[in-house]
Symmetry: C2
């Protein structure tokens, strides 16, 4: 499994549009066979800060995701709304390690 934890800061005024775009992206993403989780969070202390939590079966699944229409549409629409480039951390799970626990 590969987990991507992505921190995104949006420009003021784009919070709701950003959430809508992420909901749409998630709708498509959870149908991908290589994606185990796809959570979208907002920082309760900063309405301009969001965290995406994406869990993939393997490296191949991360590449497949980037080729989907829902990902491409999301990236194109949200890119100009970001206050700075997003920060993505690729992680390995320490625990749980069993695929069924994700």
């Amino acid at each position: 499994m590969i987990v991507r934890v992505i921190n995104i800061y949006v420009k003021r005024g784009y919070e709701e549009s950003f959430k809508d775009a992420c909901r749409k992206n998630r709708e498509g993403s959870v149908k991908e066979s290589g994606i185990l989780r796809f959570d979208v969070l907002e920082d309760s202390g900063n309405p301009l800060h969001f965290i995406l939590y994406e869990v993939y079966k393997d490296e191949e699944a991360t590449r497949e995701h980037k080729n989907t229409n829902h990902y491409k549409a999301w990236r194109e629409v949200v890119e100009p709304w970001m206050a700075k480039p997003r920060e993505s951390v690729a992680c390995n799970p320490v625990v749980p390690v069993d695929e069924s626990d994700w």
Copy 2:
């Protein structure tokens, strides 16, 4: 639901001990009725960087967790291993919002 995303940096040499302590803490945590997920991740690009992803039913559940023996034991043992104070971000889920999806 309340999601806590916690970034922790440990001092060199304590990576494996830290992982063991987190595995133990998780064992107890997932048995708490107020905890929906408790993931421990290691940054694949930095072996000293870890992320905890903790999902609670509500504010009360976060307080209950801090009163458990497994949490107290974890905090006591890992505190001196941290290279700097941990950074915790409290989040609300944008999606999914249904408790059964966590």
